[in-house]
Amino acid sequence: MIKGWLSIREKVNASIDDAFARVGHFVANFFVEAGRVVLFFLDAGKLIFARPYRIEEILKHIEFIGNGSILIIMLTGAFTGMALSYQIYLGFHLVNATNLVGPTVALGISRELGPVLTGLIVSARAGGAMAARLGTMRVSEQIDALDVMGIDPIQYLVSPRLVGALVSMPLLCGVFDFTAMTGAYILCVKLLGLDEAIFWDKIQGWLHPRDIYEGLIKSGIFGLIFGSVCTHRGFNTTGGAKGVGEATNSGVVNSMVLIIVVNFFATNVIRFYYHMIGIR
């Protein structure tokens, strides 16, 4: 009886140890991997300013990430704006405050939803493509080929993608903000019959350019996040087609989670900064 009890206790202890070990392992792995991505990012960032300058490559990636994502960003922006404003309208209608729908939507979109949704959509579209492309180049030895030709593969492949993401994201976020507000306007004013003058006037009164800048700055940060995570994953792919699939998958998933987590902290840092310089 006692023997049996002891063996159960041992098993429980072992499984608790195991759980702690797993958590420890996960945390350690997370920091090791994060450190690798940061070093990779710094390496690629430094090489943006090294000769030969890759202007043509940078423009190519701005075109791919930015221009290639405009339609999907407009589409999602318009529908997000409509859905959000409808929900806010329904809520505010109960307390007879529908005149505040416009500015609430405007603040929510410009500060939070614009940059976050743009980040998520573009990291799925362009980030996934980056990881898959670099992964394929790695497994088909094209990256080694660059190396032995005396061309730095990070400078040629990664740095221009980072610049492309950094430049494109705020532009796309602006497009998202604009179409989302257009969607909200169409729904609230044209379909739900809110007063047009009040809708715009309140927005003008409440929404400050710094609210839009806040979103644009965050979207630039998200561009750097998915750019570094996805290129890092793709660049270090191992093991054939399966490896490319895994790199793409983990690149996109990690970017998305990181964007949502970093968004919270970035919001707080920016709010803290405004607080310090004495703005609301």
């Binding site: 030969p52 088909s140 030895e141 094209q142 080694d144 080929a145 190396d147 032995v148 030709m149 005396g150 061309i151 730095d152």
Partner: protein, 253 residues
């Protein structure tokens, strides 16, 4: 100038601190000859190739290529050094989003754009492709539209684009049919004859190719040189592993 194109002195390589992929390997690869490195799979052939290219660094020992110790080179020196080497990868490793001609122009544009005009670059690339047996009508195709043999030819033209002093071939005939294998072997010999003074290093496990084209043959085993010399050295050898390798290699025929 030293006699050897590549001088490897007692190098070891371990990736995990325990198993040694290269284990005290010393080798002198002569200038101006076709050297073939053979061995069973997993004997360290590809790792050795990466050491010669400077893509990997030995855990201990020295690798001196064209008189330069790779360990002591800075970034710019490594770039300049790599322009003196050309590599034909196993699957040619062509950039699949640009055309055949652009693939060959690519290294020339990267390293000669300040001294050569666009016309000259295109002219050199065209010549290299023609010399490798590619016809002009294929120049504007993407690598995906080419056959295996054509891809090898383009890969070779790209490897030769900067007139390298050492040309390395990584398993050039693996996965090819016998006719194509012979074609690639002939291409290696013809290229070597055309590029006078150049050194060719072929890494393969194809014994026929080794004896057909190799002027100097090196057999690796367990990260070391088991035997080196010409064909006769191998046929006369009484090392059991060499005999087994020869037996197995020629039995296929």
């Amino acid at each position: 100038m030293s006699e050897s194109a590549v001088s490897i002195r007692n190098i070891t390589k371990t990736f995990d601190g325990k198993d040694f992929v290269l284990n005290g390997l010393s080798l002198e690869i002569p200038r101006g000859e076709i050297t073939v490195i053979i061995g069973f799979s997993g004997t360290g052939k590809s790792v050795l190739l990466k050491h010669i290219l400077g893509l990997e660094h030995p855990t201990s020992g020295d690798v001196v290529v064209l008189g330069k110790d790779l360990k002591t080179m800075n970034y710019q020196e490594i770039i300049d050094f790599r322009c003196r080497l050309g590599v034909l990868f196993q699957n040619a490793a062509l950039f699949d989003d640009i055309t055949v001609l652009e693939n060959v122009c690519f290294p020339i544009i990267e390293h000669r754009r300040n001294i050569w005009k666009a016309d000259k670059i295109q002219e050199v690339a065209t010549r290299k492709l023609n010399e490798s047996g590619m016809e002009n009508r294929h120049f504007h195709k993407l690598p995906g539209e080419l056959s295996g043999g054509q891809r090898k030819r383009v890969g070779l033209a790209r490897a030769l684009a900067l007139d390298p002093e050492i040309i390395l071939y990584d398993e050039p005939t693996t996965g090819l049919d016998p006719i194509l294998t012979e074609m690639v072997d002939e291409l290696i010999v013809a290229t070597h004859a055309k590029n006078k003074g150049s050194t060719s290093i072929v890494v393969t496990h194809d014994l026929h190719a080794a004896f057909r084209i190799g002027q100097f043959i090196v057999m690796l085993d367990k990260g070391r040189v088991l035997l080196q010399g010409n064909r006769e050295t191998f046929f006369k050898s009484d090392i059991p592993l060499v005999q087994r390798f020869l037996e197995k290699g020629f039995k296929k025929e």
